[in-house]
Subunit: 509 residues, 2 copies
C-alpha cells in the first residue's frame, strides 16, 4: 500500500517498500543511527485518551475547564520526537505543544547535550549562580543579574534578524505583541510630534484614558491572522469567533489576506492577481482610517498565517506590503511567534523574502522559550517605564535558549529541516493525489507544512484516527491539519509519519 507512496524521496526509499504495518520495524535502524536511544516508533497500548488520562482529566476538571485537554503526558518517559502519555502510549509528535518545542522532548535533549555540552545543561540547572533565578525571578528592568548582557548576546542576539541589534524579552507571545504595538504607537506619536516629549495636556489626559494622551491610533491586521488573546492582540486576531466573542474590541482596520491556490508555483498568475487585490485594499484601508482620524500606526502580519489555517502568501506579496508600510509611514511588525525558530528551514521565516529591510519589529515566543521582540533603534522608547513590567520575561529561559541555539547550530538542524521538509511535502502531494476526495492544498515551507481535509468533522476524525495509530497532530483554520514537528524531526520520521497517515486515510470513508 505504501510501496509507491514515497516515490519522490530517496534516502529511505527501499526500506519503505513494505506494508504500512511493518514500518515500525523497518525504520528502527535509521532511527538509532540518527538519534541515539530515541524510540523505534510509536507503540499504542490503549485508545487515546486512555483510562489514566480520563481519570486525571476528571481530577483537573474540578479545577479548570478541560474541554481542550487531549491527554495527560508522562514527560519523563518522552524522548525526542516521541510523546508518551500516562497510559504508556508512545506517539510520534508532529504538533510539539502547539509548535513550541525546539529540539525534542526530554531525553533527546539530554542526549544532544551529552554529545556536545552536557555539563553546560547540568550547570544551568544546578549552578548556585543560577539557582536563585529559577525560584526568584529577577526584575530584569531594574535589578538585572550580572550575566544578562552576556546571555542576551550569546542567545537572542546571536540569531537576531538582519538590521536589529535591540531585543526586549517578555513572558509570552501575547505580552510580546502587546508591547510591540505599544512601541509602534509611541514611535508613531513621536514622529507626529516631531519630538519625543509628550505635552502636559497629553500626559494629563492619558491618565484618564482620553485624547490627546490616549490617541485614536490603530493597527492594521489581516483576516485569518492570529496575534494573541489579550485585549490589544485580540483586536488584531481574526480566526475563530469563540476566541473573540463577548470581549470589547477596537475599531481597527482589517485587510483581506490573499486566498491563494496551491501549489503556489502552478498558479502564479491567478495568485498574483489575488495578492494585488489585497494590497490595494490595504492601501485603501490606510487612507480610510487616516480620514476618520484613527491613523494606522503599524501593520502586523505573520509570514504564514498559522492558527488561521496555514495560509501562505508569496514572498513578493510581503515585499510589496513592506513597501506600502514605508510609503504610508506605518511601522511594519512581523509576528514570528509560530514561524520563528527554524521550522521553515530558515531561522526566521521572513528571511525567505530576500529583503534588506524586511521589518521594524519582529516578535517571537514558543520555540524561542522566552517571549519578546527585536526592534530597530527608532523603536526604543527614550524614557523608562514605557515598555516595562515586573519580570520582563524570565532569565532562566534566556539561559536555556542560549544552550538550545548552540545545539541547533552544531547539529545543523536547519539543514535537517530542509531535508525532512522536502520528504513531508512530497509525501503530502502523493497522498492528496491518492485521496483527492479527502485531501487538498498540500503546502509548506521546511517542515512547516499543512493540508486541507474535506470538512471540519472529517478533519477532526482524521486527527483522532491518526492519534490512535500513534501520531499526534493538530488542526488549524476551519479544516486544515498543521504539521509542526520539532527541529530534530529527520527524514525517517517524515517517512514514518507519512506511512501512518496513509494508513489512517485508507480507513476513512
Amino acid at each position: 500500500m505504501a510501496s509507491n507512496l514515497l516515490r519522490h524521496t530517496v534516502s529511505l526509499q527501499h526500506s519503505l517498500r513494505v506494508s504500512a504495518r511493518a514500518h515500525r520495524h523497518v525504520s528502527q535502524t535509521a532511527a538509532k543511527a540518527l538519534v541515539e536511544s530515541e524510540f523505534d516508533g510509536p507503540l499504542m497500548r490503549t485508545e487515546v485518551p486512555g483510562p489514566k488520562s480520563r481519570e486525571l482529566t476528571k481530577q483537573l476538571g474540578q479545577i479548570q475547564n478541560v474541554i481542550a485537554v487531549n491527554f495527560f503526558c508522562n514527560y519523563e518517559a518522552s524522548r525526542g520526537n516521541y510523546l508518551v502519555d500516562v497510559d504508556g502510549n508512545r506517539m510520534l509528535d508532529v504538533y510539539t505543544q502547539i509548535a513550541s518545542i525546539p529540539i525534542g522532548e526530554n531525553a533527546s535533549i539530554c542526549i544532544l547535550w551529552r554529545r556536545y555540552n552536557h555539563p553546560a545543561l547540568v550547570k544551568v540547572m544546578t549552578d548556585s549562580h543560577n539557582l536563585s533565578a529559577f525560584i526568584n525571578r529577577p526584575a530584569l528592568g531594574v535589578l538585572p543579574p550580572d550575566n544578562l548582557p552576556e546571555k542576551l548576546n550569546a542567545g537572542l542576539l546571536s540569531v537576531a534578524p538582519r538590521g536589529m541589534s535591540r531585543v526586549q524579552t517578555m513572558a509570552c507571545g501575547s505580552c510580546s505583541n502587546e508591547n510591540a504595538y505599544k512601541a509602534m504607537f509611541i514611535w508613531y506619536r513621536n514622529q507626529q510630534r516631531g519630538h519625543t516629549d509628550p505635552s502636559p495636556e497629553e500626559l494629563k489626559s492619558s491618565v484618564i484614558n482620553q485624547s490627546p494622551g490616549c490617541p485614536d491610533l490603530s493597527i492594521l491586521s489581516f483576516m485569518g491572522g492570529f496575534h494573541g488573546r489579550t485585549l490589544g492582540c485580540l483586536a488584531t486576531t481574526h480566526t475563530k469567533a469563540i476566541q473573540k466573542v463577548d470581549v470589547p474590541s477596537f475599531d481597527w482596520p482589517i485587510a483581506p489576506f490573499p486566498k491563494l491556490q496551491y501549489p503556489l508555483e502552478e498558479f502564479k498568475r491567478e495568485n498574483a492577481q489575488e495578492e494585488a487585490r489585497c494590497l490595494e485594499q490595504v492601501e485603501d484601508l490606510i487612507e480610510k482610517w487616516g480620514k476618520k482620524s484613527r491613523p494606522v500606526a503599524g501593520i502586523v502580519i505573520e509570514p504564514i498565517q498559522a492558527e488561521g489555517g496555514d495560509n501562505h502568501a508569496s514572498f513578493d506579496f510581503y515585499r510589496k506590503l513592506r513597501e506600502i508600510a514605508r510609503k504610508h509611514g506605518c511601522a511594519f511588525h512581523v509576528d514570528e511567534v509560530q514561524t520563528g525558530g527554524g521550522a521553515t528551514g530558515r531561522f526566521w521565516a521572513h528571511e525567505h523574502w530576500g529583503l534588506d529591510d524586511p521589518a521594524d519589529i519582529v516578535s517571537f515566543s514558543k520555540k524561542m522559550l522566552t517571549g519578546g521582540y527585536y526592534h530597530k533603534e527608532d523603536f526604543l522608547p527614550d524614557k523608562p517605564f514605557r515598555i516595562f513590567n515586573t519580570w520582563l520575561g524570565d532569565q532562566t529561559k534566556n539561559l536555556f535558549l542560549t544552550e538550545v541555539l548552540k545545539v541547533i547550530k552544531r547539529e545543523r538542524l536547519l539543514e535537517e529541516v530542509k531535508r525532512s521538509g522536502k520528504v513531508m511535502l512530497h509525501g503530502l502531494y502523493e497522498l492528496q493525489a491518492r485521496y483527492p476526495h479527502l485531501l487538498s492544498k498540500a503546502r509548506g515551507l521546511g517542515t512547516f507544512c499543512a493540508i486541507d481535509v474535506r470538512d471540519e468533522t472529517t478533519r477532526n476524525n482524521l486527527i483522532f484516527k491518526a492519534r490512535n495509530k500513534g501520531v499526534v497532530l493538530g488542526g488549524c483554520g476551519e479544516r486544515s491539519i498543521r504539521f509542526r514537528p520539532a527541529l530534530v524531526f529527520k527524514e525517517h520520521h517524515a517517512h514514518l509519519f507519512l506511512n501512518i497517515f496513509n494508513e489512517a486515510l485508507a480507513e476513512m470513508k
Copy 2:
C-alpha cells in the same frame, strides 16, 4: 540617637540601646539565631551603582533601554534579606524585586529547604521527571503533565481564597488580569443572554471587532489603581502618565479612590465621609455608563493601591463596594498581584475585610511565582479556547510554589510578618514624629508599609542615600516610599532598617 527610636518594640529593645553606627555588630547574634548564615548586616564597598554596575549598564544599553536599571546583582552571593551587587555591596533588601520575592534570596532558600525539605528542592531542579518541563514548557491546556492536578491542589489551591476552588494559571500579572477581564465579560454576556451560547450574528461580528459580538462593555477601575500595562489592563491603570501616554484606550469609567488621612484610626469620621463620597461616585458611574450603553461588567480594585502610592481604604469601604457590585450585577475582581502572598500578615489582603463572599475573581502574580487568578464556578467558560494560550503559565513555577508554600507554613512566616510589621510601623511613626518636615502618613498592614516624603525630589534623594548606606528601597505614587520586604524579614531586620533609615534622614536637609 536610636536609643528611644524603637521604644514600642520589645524583643530586641535592649540590644538596640546603642548608637546607630553600632547596629550592625549588635544585631549579629539575633540574625544568626533566626536565619543561619545570613549576613550580619549591610556592607558597602562603593557608591551604588559602582564601577562594575556602570560598565554592565553600558553593555546592556547597547541592547535595551537601561534608564530604569538601579544596579546589577550578583544573585549567587545574595542571601536571605540581603542583595549583593556586582561591586560587592551587600544591602538589606526592603524592595525585593518590586515585591516579588516570597522567602528571600538564594542561600536563604537553600537553608530553609535544607532544614525541612532540601531533597525536595534538589529534586524539583534535577529530577528527570521535571527536567523537560524546564526546557520544554508543556502546553498546559491541551497536553498537561501527569502531576498538574496534584501540584495545583498541593500548591495554589491549598491557599485559595474562601469559596474559590477554581484557578487558572497565567505567565504574568498583566496576562492574569487581561484574562480575568475576559472571564468577567463572558460571564456578563451569558447573564444578559440568559444562556451561554452566542448567536450566529454575535459570532460572525466578533471576528471583525464589531458589535454585537464585540460588545461595548466596560470595567470600572479607580484613580491611582494599577493593574498592568497591556492594552486591556492599561485601560484600568491610572497611576503615572508615562505608563499610558500615546497608547489607545477604552472609554471605561474611573471612580475616585478615597484620599484618607492617616493613621486611619484617628480620622475615622473624616475618612468615612470621604469613602461615602467615592462609593456614591461608583454608583453614579455604573448608572451613567449603563445609560450610554457601555455597561459595567466588572469592578477591579486592589486591597491597597500599591504602585499608585500605597493608598489604603477601610475594610468597611471594601465591604460596601462589594455590596454595590452585587446590587448592580457587576463582577467583583480583587487584584492581589502585589498584596497577595502574605506580606499584609494574611495570605490574601482581602481576608482582612471579614467577608464570607469577598470576591468573584482574585488575581495574583509576583510572590506567587506564577501568574493566574482564582474564580468562582460561574466564571468558568463552558467552551474551550475562550480563556486559553499556548503555555497557560509555566509548570515549573507551580512546582516551586508548592515547595515555597510548605516553607511559609512550616516556618509560620505570616506570624513573623505580623511581628516585624508591628516593629516597622511603630518605627515609622516614631520617625515621622522626629522628622515632621520630611515624613508624613506612615501606614501599613503587616510589613506592607509606606511613608510619604516632602516632595518627589526629596523622596528620590532619600532612596539614594539609604541605598548607599546599605538599604534597597523603592518609591511609589508621587512622593511615597513603599517597604516590601520578603516574608523572612524578621523583627531584627526591621530594627536594622529603621536605624539605617534614621541615619539617612538625619543627614537630609
